[in-house]
């Protein structure tokens, strides 16, 4: 699956990038391709074949604001702002910066509503309202929630928070200890606070909510702690729970009823969320909702993914383990399941399906289709009919070897026998690794180019599964999976993807997994940050790096863009390495813990040369 053939056009672009880009020295020890970002291509043309592509749902609020985690319900992360262009991006510079006062992984993104920016930190999940209209950007308020310390050690993969959402004068977000809060956007006062998760069972919350028709939609984390994953709706006015749907268990709890019409036969049947598990193992089977949510108002459907099944040791849970590692479409009013697609049935590699579902209308085989595009941990990019759950196209977007492809008749992946994990076996060289071809770092879509901009990982793993006992509040994993760089000598790549053909158009190879999200803009510039702390502006059409700035700490957050009170276009990004990559994989990037000094890991052997923990917001403009 290696795509290393360089077309002539791609080589020309590569040389142009190398010439303009002398600053990046982020080389890895075994990087065969050197330290410069490089452009490769599987397609020699270098242009997208799409036309007439559009985002399914309009940007939330005025184009100069950023009111929702992804800017819109479609999860496009696209902005109409167009002042920053490939011609002038080289003049970008820091306008101002703000220390969040918190270290650890700064996933997520700020919001901009009117002349106020809202920032939520990792645990303890402090929120700030920053006045953009005044010089020096003073705070309007800060809110320091009551948030149980116990949550720190219960969150599997760092104490991250993926951001807040805005609606009707309130800021809504989740606390790591399992609460959802509503804050008055003007005063910073807490309007309500609702306990949603049970910390003693390992339930934490890290995801960013969205508000749909007066309901705040939230979901649980804890797929590594033997939780029983759920998604729920709260009344935005009162904080009262309106509905809650579990992702595993009997139909009644999962909200499978008359509306449920999955496209594939194996997803049909009674109580599959319980019967596709041995005994009552479903009760501790994972299926959490820690990723991103999308919403299609025309179909009134909420789309979300579910996490890996627990434990990792597949031996303890024979069967399909529905509805883990699935993409689910639910009625926004009731939570009822309308379709389901289990992308990795009986997952045995920790391939959560929680990555974002991007809602777009695309011309496919000469016909406009209402689709959902999803870059899964399992390494396949899916283009799916979002009304029915039918897979229109599924192609690998990263090097992979666990599957030879998707059986289009059943929707199931064809699994390579030698890459199946099993208890007490050490299965070597599985690609992608458990971090997936892509993880939480969200992709962006530009209707101008018709392309998806996708931050990816290129890691492989050995997988050693073992028996594990469920003990409430402790990890329910039963496996160890040391990782290493994937084929090609790079560990991540920022790619442009054509979801109508399933082809990569260009890619920028990175020495480390690209754990930060993407932003696409109408100016024809896309933005992303890297784990070694570079924030980059890239030409959306060619993949040429136009500008880059070293922000100090690794980027695991997502850029947003807005119009300032002065009418200028600004781009904001968090710097602050963390998440799975910064806490578990890097190991040695902390400096503030005199009692916890770690050796560096093999996966990212010299990341600590380039970055330490941090917590800073950077804002750039021309």
């Amino acid at each position: 699956m290696k795509r290393v053939l360089l077309g002539h056009a791609a080589i020309a672009t590569l040389m142009a990038v190398a010439a303009c880009n002398g600053g990046d020295k982020g080389a890895t020890a075994d990087s065969a391709s050197g330290s410069e970002p490089q452009v490769t291509s599987g397609a020699a043309t270098g242009t997208a074949s799409t036309s007439g592509a559009r985002i399914a749902v309009a940007h939330a609020g005025p184009p100069g604001e950023w009111q929702m985690p992804a800017g819109d319900y479609a999860s496009s992360r696209y902005s109409e702002l167009a002042s920053i262009t490939p011609q002038n991006a080289a003049n970008l510079h820091v306008s101002w910066a703000f220390s969040t006062g918190v270290l650890r992984g700064h996933e997520g993104q700020p919001l901009v509503v009117g002349n106020t920016m809202y920032v939520v930190t990792p645990y303890p999940n402090v929120s700030y309202a920053i006045d953009l209209a005044q010089t020096g950007q003073p705070l309007k308020w800060k809110f320091r929630p009551d948030n149980s310390q116990q949550a720190i050690g219960r969150a599997c993969c760092d104490v991250v928070n993926r951001g807040a959402t805005y609606a009707d004068g309130r800021i809504f977000y989740n606390l790591l200890d399992g609460h959802t809060v509503a804050i008055d956007a003007v005063t910073g006062n807490q309007v309500w606070r609702t306990k949603m998760g049970d910390l003693s069972r390992g339930e934490t919350i890290t995801m960013a909510p969205i508000v749909v028709k007066g309901k705040v939609i939230v979901g649980s984390s804890g797929g590594e702690m033997g939780v029983r994953g759920w998604i729920a709706a709260l009344d935005a006015a009162t904080g009262k729970e309106v509905w809650r749907a579990y992702n595993i268990g009997p139909d009644k709890d999962v909200k499978v009823g008359p509306k449920f019409k999955p496209f594939y036969a194996h997803d049909r049947g009674k109580d599959l969320g319980a019967t596709s598990w041995p005994g009552d193992t479903w009760k501790t089977g994972g299926g959490a909702v820690w990723g991103w949510l999308s919403y299609d108002p025309a179909l009134n459907l909420i789309y979300h993914g579910t996490s890996n099944p627990g434990p990792w040791n597949e031996n303890q849970r024979t069967g399909d383990n529905k509805w883990t590692a699935s993409i689910l479409a639910r009625d926004a009013d009731t939570g009822e399941m309308v379709w389901a697609l289990q992308v990795t049935p009986h997952d045995m590699w920790d391939y959560d399906a929680v990555n974002e579902n991007i809602l777009v209308d695309l011309p496919i085989k000469g016909q406009m289709r209402k689709v959902l595009v999803h870059f899964d941990r399992n390494g396949f990019a899916y283009t799916i009919d979002r009304a029915t759950g039918e897979i229109l196209l599924a192609e690998p977007f990263v090097p992979m070897n666990w599957s030879t492809g998707i059986d289009m008749a059943t929707g199931r992946p064809n699994v390579v026998e030698t890459k199946k994990t099993a208890q007490d076996k050490n299965v070597k060289d599985i690609c992608p690794s458990l971090e997936g071809g892509k993880n939480q770092q969200p992709a962006a879509f530009s209707p101008q180019t018709g392309l998806f901009y996708v931050p990816t990982n290129n890691l492989c793993m050995d997988f050693q599964a073992r028996a594990v006992t469920y003990i409430a509040g402790t990890p329910f994993i039963g496996g160890n999976a040391p990782e290493k760089g994937g084929p090609g000598g790079y560990r991540g790549e920022f790619i442009a993807w054509d979801a109508t053909t399933g082809k990569k158009i260009w890619g920028i190879k990175e020495p480390y997994p690209v754990w930060g999200g993407a932003l696409a803009t109408a100016g024809g510039v896309v933005f992303y940050g890297t784990l070694d702390g570079w924030f980059k502006a890239v030409d959306a059409r060619s993949g040429k790096v136009l500008w880059q700035f070293k922000v100090g700490s690794g980027v695991v957050g997502n850029p947003v863009t807005y119009t300032g009170p002065d009418g200028k276009q600004y781009v904001a990004i968090y710097a602050g390495i963390g998440g799975d990559m910064g806490l578990l994989i890097a190991g040695d990037v902390a400096a503030n813990l005199p009692y916890d000094v770690r050796e560096r890991g093999t996966t990212l052997p010299d990341i600590a040369r380039w970055t330490s923990w941090g917590g800073e917001l950077f804002v750039f403009s021309l």
Partner: protein, 149 residues
């Protein structure tokens, strides 16, 4: 060390190295009261016992300590045990207490859930891991395997 005391004219404050100032009326002390306080460390009868440490390693996996503290205690959601550094003290008594009572940032309390005997065995194992001097990180050295969630 005595600045807090220096501003106060009273004598009923504890000063490091002069513990008896704590007592306002030394004449009430019983005869033979030790004037120097010597620490009497709590002993773990499994300390350094190879068989117990091997059993401790099994308990460490069996009770899912491993997934929070990393393979061989190399650090994950919970702190590393390989660095010779301790947040809550590294004596056998301190480590026993950490396991027995739990700690605020998410370390579960195991007292009452598993036997004290097993906690002492885990204490011996956890203490046996702390040996490396990781003060300096030189980027040309070797690396350890880590796993993500």
């Amino acid at each position: 060390m005595t600045s807090a005391v220096g501003t106060d004219t009273g004598s009923n404050y504890f000063v490091a190295g002069d513990s008896l100032r704590l007592i306002e009326h030394p004449e009430i002390l019983p005869a033979g009261f030790p004037l120097q306080i010597k620490p009497l460390p709590i002993k773990n009868r499994y300390e350094g016992d190879k068989g117990a440490i091997a059993n401790g390693a099994k308990l460490f996996v069996g009770y899912n300590c491993l997934d929070c503290h990393g393979a061989d205690g190399s650090g994950a959601m919970g702190p590393s045990f390989q660095d010779g550094r301790w947040h809550f003290g590294g004596s056998p008594g301190d480590v026993f207490e950490s396991i027995y009572q739990g700690r605020p940032d998410g370390m579960p309390a195991w007292g009452g859930r598993i036997s004290n005997e097993q906690i002492w065995i885990l204490t011996a194992y956890v203490r046996s891991l702390s040996s490396k001097d990781l003060s300096t990180e030189n980027f040309t050295g070797k690396t350890v395997e880590r796993t993500g969630h």
